[in-house]
Symmetry: C2
Subunit: 440 residues, 2 copies
Amino acid sequence: MSVTYWCEHAWLPEGVAHSVLIEVDGERIAEITQGDPGAAERLTGLTVPGLANAHSHAFHRALRGATQTGRGDFWTWREQMYEVAARLDPDGYLELARAVYAEMALAGITCVGEFHYLHHGPGGQPYDDPNTMGHALVRAARDAGLRIALLDTCYLTGGFGAALSGTQLRFGDGDSERWAVRAERLADAYRGQTDVQIGAAVHSVRAVPPEHIPAVAEFSHRHAVPLHAHVSEQRAENVACVEMYAATPVQVLHEHGALGPRSTAVHATHLNGVDIELLSQSGTHICMCPTTERDLADGIGPARTLHDRGAPLTLGSDSHAVIDLFEEARALELNERLASQRRGHWRAAELLAAATGAGHASLGFPDAGLLVPGAWADLVSIRLDSARTAGTSGAEAAVFAATAADVHSVISGGRRLVTQGRHELGDAGAMLNEAIGRIR
Amino acid sequence: MSVTYWCEHAWLPEGVAHSVLIEVDGERIAEITQGDPGAAERLTGLTVPGLANAHSHAFHRALRGATQTGRGDFWTWREQMYEVAARLDPDGYLELARAVYAEMALAGITCVGEFHYLHHGPGGQPYDDPNTMGHALVRAARDAGLRIALLDTCYLTGGFGAALSGTQLRFGDGDSERWAVRAERLADAYRGQTDVQIGAAVHSVRAVPPEHIPAVAEFSHRHAVPLHAHVSEQRAENVACVEMYAATPVQVLHEHGALGPRSTAVHATHLNGVDIELLSQSGTHICMCPTTERDLADGIGPARTLHDRGAPLTLGSDSHAVIDLFEEARALELNERLASQRRGHWRAAELLAAATGAGHASLGFPDAGLLVPGAWADLVSIRLDSARTAGTSGAEAAVFAATAADVHSVISGGRRLVTQGRHELGDAGAMLNEAIGRIR
């Protein structure tokens, strides 16, 4: 079935064009031309490709606004996060993730990279199907209309040389071989299904001893799927890693085959010169999550340097303190301004590319996030007549003025998800309130 | 005329309470009790006092999204800002400021501190009434339903020891005596009108030679009105000031009588230990404008230290890269997290107080920004059921989850301004597009 959309303005690979006709055939873009709207469905404002949220922990959404009292650091925040993780069961997680993904859809996100480690029941007892939680996340994404890269995460230790304990027991498979058996089974379940990628993740060098990294990397290479890892988010991780292995986290990952164009290093905040070379020369994606990195007091990573040297930039909302990739995109530039006291580190189009095409590619969907024939038909339309965006235009409108609240229409893989700022599933706020209430 | 509002949740001085009845008599709060809604008008979500935008240059709104191409710094940005200033006439400024203030109202702002220096016609030719531009700003605020502190700004030089040139000629009165004559005339025009304060401002030590500062300070003291000044926003200002006067900008202001509880130092980004003592010990307000300070690559000022030592914090949207005081409030905390790699510098209630009561006080309205009997009846209601705010509560909901888009109802001085996110004047986005289009 073919549908034609007329975009008042559209961000095409060559720049913003006016009066753009996009013919969609099924879930793909068939043709792009310019002309009068005629009988086409009108998309007012600026239409951009679907946004990719390259790093998500869906359940962290339940913590929004709830961890802001008192002093503390990343590690005290982590304790609160474990308390939420302890309360989730498959039904509750399905309900919560569906609502969170609906919030993402409202923000123009058409693909999520879910960094998934909450695999097992309380005490680490596997569910009857040990991928029950993973299936719940895939279902949640499909219900909400997003494609998903389920990054099945290997999580074996509670810190360098420390056994898992408490809630962490739910994350662990014992060793990387057993992780791989479970992950293979999950991959089998979705083989040939184009809206789902079963990728792999090394949680971090804190949680995966070096000898277990190759099996995870091997899964990624064998299936040609993404491989993600948290890297050097906090200085304490670097200090402990160097003490343990006489190497930084990046170096440990490199030595065990976990860097490369299929890989994504998430955060990459505290790097030395060698780390920067290893990441860039290997073409590893760098997923920055600026609103989380602010929230968790991580610091400001060397995004521009990494990008200049060859590491593509992607963006994630991570802990979901905020779900707004426009906010993430501008935070990259604005954080570098605060750090350097200079403006103009990134062009708006570079940041929008990070939020769209590069993000999708890092999640195993290289054929999405671009308005070109053959790509996934993801069309995200932003108001240019709201109080926030009035008077702005071009990629700058999206990156420097818009918020998630300015997205009025979302089409994901040809399916209309959001109309006039409302998700087809219903009231996302009510869904979130209900799901979060259930686990509080 | 008395109207009673029922607030589902309200942020009172003692904390958030549920089922709060606020009786409004004319433009003031008459009584606050708790109880069932009965026939009261219902305000769902969280109701907070009116927000005060303590630092605004209304016309800068026309630059949003338009200065983000290419490299550059504060000084190249300033050139672009002058280009907009050059195109404004009284009608155009009235139209633009009305639309900008409507955007502020939509964001829950009920009072604006307008730092006003665009006094004269092209080439510095005074209008027939030399306060024509000031009157336009007051009228714009009244049309949009905000109270205004018009901070009439003395602006005499184009830099240390440099004459005004180009667009700057529109800012200058020649000397502080002539500035004072004009400002007195403006004050006369609004004497006894409770919704307008005619305050004073020293643009900066760059623009006002020390010998002209006392006359501006004297105006503030004689009328008991606010006195604002830009202070140490950029390192270059400090360097040149020390070179010229062997004193920092704060020290120059102090030596010429411009600090004190009626005063506000705007930005206060680059301070030394003596500066911090002088500002704090004098009880000078510190107006931080974090979204502008990010945008202009200013840096992160020592807000927490100043506050701890006695300088009350206020917030402003300044250049209006963003108009969202919730975003400003959380940026204070989040910037300090990035700088220190620790969480928990500010309690949410402290930041909300900066955005409300302290801001109003710094603008000469000490009887606003608090939900107490006798205060101005400014009631700002925030949705707690949007995708952004769902699952949050208390002051944390406002500071760490809400955006301007979550404000659904605004009552300012007893007058209903915003209902279901719409300003009574009409479509603020359309007003902005029209006003900005006119001067581009």
